[in-house]
Subunit: 210 residues, 2 copies
Amino acid sequence: MPRTDVPQTTIQRLPLYLRALLQAEEARRPVVNSVDIAEMCGTNAAQVRKDLSYLGELGTRGIGYDVEALIAHISSVLGITQQRRVALVGLGRLGSALLSYRGFAERGFEAVAVFDSDPAKIGSRAGSLTVVSTDDFEAVLEEQDVEIVILTTPAGVTQQLADRAVAAGVKAILNFAPVRLTVPETVALRQVCLSTDLQVLSFHLAQGQQ
Amino acid sequence: MPRTDVPQTTIQRLPLYLRALLQAEEARRPVVNSVDIAEMCGTNAAQVRKDLSYLGELGTRGIGYDVEALIAHISSVLGITQQRRVALVGLGRLGSALLSYRGFAERGFEAVAVFDSDPAKIGSRAGSLTVVSTDDFEAVLEEQDVEIVILTTPAGVTQQLADRAVAAGVKAILNFAPVRLTVPETVALRQVCLSTDLQVLSFHLAQGQQ
């Protein structure tokens, strides 16, 4: 079902559309149109129609999109109809927050392993999991069949952990550490920079002060 | 200095370019070209040149961009040459993680107030700040001259807190709560959804499994 010809910028908006659709589903709305979706996502209706057109002929002109069908379709394109097995490395404050973030489980991501290098944390409970030493990183990643590794580790050790995850067969990395990682082209990498959104807001504040 | 004709998509990439430039500065590189910046940001050189062209005539053909000058220019466009006063609402795990996130202070954002509604947290220390009751929300926001409010609150109370922040004169809101907020057009709003990046990674995993 995934299509390789969907632009990257469209891919990045699909999760927003999915969230809007899940809200519509919660509100028991059977049908939404592109204006509804755009309003819920802070974009415009033309953009929504263009993005969704990459996924095929989905809507009905003058009526809109069937909420359930579009949820199923976008989920399928995003590859989240199957549960994805995720490991978290670095159980600091951000790691703990991510582990308890209910949005992950709801959207099809299951934490199956948690790693830390701090002896005080190793062996302790983190949600339903037991914290494992990074000494056992590769073995546990393979044993647990982990697909995605989330790194919330100090900058200095993050590239090395990424290398080890890749060597253990991990195909996707989500990096919260403030360091640019290098991974093979076959590995998907997303870099989260929590100050980016603040900087965008700052731009709008600066505009208002002109 | 901020230009209102810069496309929103360009604005969203400027923080990435800024981060790449700060890394180049750390590595004591005086000049970078668009290929360098693109590689550091995971985009392409044509996109970098186009984005930066919105900011004026900045580079020298065949040579590149002066790192210091471009850092100063992008910082100015983003309005982060001046310190921005930020308040955090909701001192749960995510809130605590954000408060200790060193990237915020480094990029020109200063936490000046922390709010919670839990009597067990009110009055306790959070970094260099004392946690204040949300009962005193408006008074402290005005007293501390807060420009940006970060919400990491339970979904059910978040719209109400956003309304109160707006009424107290706050001009920008960064929302981590899993709820869509409505704010006046004069207020800048960014919605952070931590599962979005995982969904984009999942798309790439699904492609690899075709």
